[in-house]
């Protein structure tokens, strides 16, 4: 496997491993999206243009429980979940380089996985190859599997009978899990879960989720339970890439 260009081979290998595993999420997204009331086109448009798993699941999750009355909460929730992509973009900007249109193209593919694989490579060239290869593999795979999942989801009748509502909860847990490595995110997750559970009976669907975001702001600003030395080791917003990531 180690051809004449080990730098390139390593980056592409990482991209393939992560990309193929993640593309499989698309199946569950497609099926859950149609189950939550989106049609085939709406489901595919989300994967083509939004292209950010957590945000996409948030849109369909909130719409499924609150209907169109929860539309503002669905939009705000998915946007807040997408805020980390802006962070990744800041990290990738100097790596991508080149003319403005190249960074514009890169923007669409700037997600957890492409940033993780890109920034994990030792050389600038490897970082670029890793980013573009992962972005391309996931973009194609995610959209194809979304389409297949949506077609399958359309064939199913009562989605509760197939446990698809439980699958959505598991999907959120699966997205959350790899982020719970240190005390601070664990505390935030626990606090957010409590806030959501306590306010759920009294607020319209979707709003408890937004209220839980306050926990992140409070802990983030005060850096409660955070590392003593600020800013760490240039960890600046790049997601870690490791075997635990559930990828």
């Amino acid at each position: 496997m180690a051809g004449p260009d080990p730098e390139r081979a390593a980056a592409v290998r990482a991209a393939l491993a992560v990309g193929l595993a993640v593309a499989a999420y698309g199946l569950s997204f497609g099926a859950l999206a149609t189950a939550s009331g989106l049609d085939l086109w709406q489901t595919c448009v989300l994967s083509l243009f939004m292209f950010s798993g957590g945000s996409q699941f948030a849109v369909i999750g909130v719409l499924a429980s609150g209907g169109l009355a929860a539309a503002p909460a669905a939009i705000v929730g998915s946007t807040l979940l997408g805020a980390r992509n802006a962070l990744y973009a800041m990290r990738m900007g100097p790596i991508i380089g080149g003319p403005w249109w190249r960074r514009l193209l890169a923007a669409q593919w700037t997600i957890d996985e492409s940033t993780a694989v890109g920034t994990a490579q030792p050389t600038l060239r490897g970082q670029r190859i890793g980013f573009w290869a992962t972005g391309a593999i996931i973009y194609v795979g995610w959209n194809l599997t979304t389409l297949v999942g949506a077609l399958v989801g359309d064939l199913l009748g009562d989605v509760r009978a197939y446990g698809l509502d439980a699958a959505a909860a598991a999907a959120f847990l699966g997205l959350l899990w790899p982020r719970l490595r240190t005390r601070q995110p664990i505390a935030v997750a626990a606090g957010a879960a409590v806030v959501a559970a306590l306010t759920l009976p009294f607020l319209p669907p979707g709003v408890p989720v937004l209220l839980a975001a306050v926990v992140a702001v409070v802990v983030g600003v005060t850096n409660w339970l955070g590392p003593a030395a600020p800013a760490g080791t240039g960890a600046s917003g790049a997601p870690a890439l490791d075997r635990d990531a559930g990828l």
């Binding site: 999750g61 946007t79 979940l81 973009a89 759920l200 839980a212």
Partner: protein
């Protein structure tokens, strides 16, 4: 607001955030607080979504304990065992579907 409005508006906003990140000078990243808040936001929202997706009921009973809860428990165990994402999701669906088929916690 139609479903199409939601889909398009949400998609445009998420894409705009990605583009905005490339327009911001890199030194903003040196400041730890915005970076920390953005990272923790993801964690808080996902954790809240796990809860609402698991126990949200309908208008009459906003809280509902049903087959979703044991299904989520199974998926948590699988995550501890490092099962792949797709296995975790499918297992939750299967557990909930079987419990409902058996008439438990419908």
């Amino acid at each position: 607001m139609t479903t199409w409005n939601v889909v398009l508006l949400a998609a445009v906003l998420v894409l705009a955030l990605k583009i905005a990140g490339y327009l911001v000078p890199a030194r903003v990243l040196e400041r730890p607080t915005p970076a920390r808040v953005a990272t923790l936001l993801t964690v808080a929202l996902l954790a809240a979504l796990v809860v609402t997706q698991t126990v949200q009921g309908d208008g009459a009973h906003p809280l509902a304990i049903d087959a979703r809860l044991p299904a989520l428990g199974v998926s948590a165990v699988l995550l501890v065992l490092r099962a792949p994402f797709i296995v975790v999701v499918v297992a939750a669906a299967v557990v909930a579907a079987l419990l409902r088929l058996a008439g438990w916690m419908a």
